[in-house]
């Protein structure tokens, strides 16, 4: 157990920095509309989706209807539909615990598990569970700290959540070095930026993901041929 944590922990440090600081921000915000640590804990335990939880604070404060909440959560988390596609084969032999792995498949867990290989001397299964569980704990811990003590933290953490942006930047470089073919990375970038300009910052992820998948499927002939030549 100790050995697993020791090997997996370094990979998760950027997520720790990001989740704890964003969790603190979330806990503080939730506290500000009158819901304390128990609620921060329950939300981070059961919803476990960062951007949706920030939205939840606004919705709770406004007393939004459940239909409205369900619809917005659906739109905001729609991208998770696409993450599973890369994990079906990886998660094949993980047994009953697969349910937890799927439950905990956030942006960052997905990024770590597809971006890095399992550390030397560990089974894929222990790596998947350790990364998923540690990330979940960081998020819960951050939100409870924020709720209980967010307003008395003595140092200025402004900007520490940039660690998460930096993590994705680093993983783009990793993917670039690992894959000989750069068409998926380039199309992902170009299509997302185009979607951002066309649909605006609030609505671009779903069209970007759909166009990206269709474009990649159209290039299946060329891309699979080159893949098998590697």
């Amino acid at each position: 157990m100790k050995r697993i944590i020791k090997k997996v922990f370094p990979q998760t440090i950027p997520v720790m920095a990001g989740y704890i600081s964003l969790g603190i921000a979330f806990g503080l915000l939730l506290q500000s509309i009158g819901y304390g640590p128990v609620w921060a804990f329950l939300m981070s335990l059961f919803i476990y989706a960062g951007s949706a939880q920030f939205l939840a604070v606004e919705l709770l404060a406004a007393g939004a209807t459940l239909t409205h909440i369900a619809l917005l959560t659906f739109l905001l988390n729609f991208r998770h539909l696409f993450y599973g596609l890369s994990m079906i084969e990886k998660y094949r032999s993980t047994g009953i615990g697969k349910i937890y792995l799927i439950f905990g498949l956030t942006d960052e867990t997905y990024a770590l598990l597809t971006g890095y290989k399992t550390p030397e001397g560990l089974s894929d299964k222990s790596n998947f569970f350790a990364v998923t569980l540690m990330n979940h704990l960081y998020w819960i811990l951050g939100s409870v700290i924020g709720s209980v003590a967010g307003s008395i933290i003595p140092f200025d953490l402004t900007g520490i959540d940039f660690a998460m942006t930096a993590l994705f930047a680093v993983l783009v470089v990793e993917q670039w070095k690992t894959n000989k073919n750069h068409i998926p990375a380039i199309s992902g970038f170009v299509i997302t930026v185009a979607a951002l300009f066309i649909f605006g910052a609030d609505n671009f992820l779903i069209p970007a993901l759909i166009v990206m998948s269709v474009a990649l499927l159209f290039m299946k002939g060329t891309l699979s041929r080159e893949k098998s030549n590697e």
């Binding site: 949706a52 939840a56 599973g84 890369s86 942006t165 930096a166 993590l167 992902g188 951002l196």
Partner: protein, 108 residues
């Protein structure tokens, strides 16, 4: 404050999120060989999604006002340069994040 309301909200948000995360497995994970196009998408999507998530993190920058997103762009550049040079995740993320915090907190 209304406990019943927040409990229902948590349940609804959790259910929708769980549904989205489980759906690909419910549809395609039947122990058989995956349809070829799904297996292919599963392999080519990660690099595309990584680019997408990076753009997503930067999508709320206001390029026409404030500091024009210059600190973000510089620090993303620094992270990528250091990473292509040393390929040490903690070094790349540590240096760029600390640099970002210094720039933002000093209000340059």
């Amino acid at each position: 404050m209304n406990d019943k309301y927040i409990i229902t909200v948590i349940a609804v948000m959790a259910a929708v999120t769980i549904l989205l995360r489980f759906l690909p497995f419910v549809i395609f994970d039947h122990g058989k060989q995956l349809p070829k196009w799904i297996s292919y998408l599963g392999k080519v999507l990660p690099p595309a999604i990584m680019s997408m998530l990076l753009v997503y993190c930067l999508s709320n920058i206001n390029f026409v006002a404030g500091n024009h997103g210059i600190p973000e762009l510089i620090c993303v550049g620094v992270a990528m340069l250091i990473h292509s040079w040393k390929r040490n995740t903690l070094l790349s993320i540590g240096v760029s994040t600390i640099l970002y915090m210094i720039i933002i907190q000093s209000g340059i």
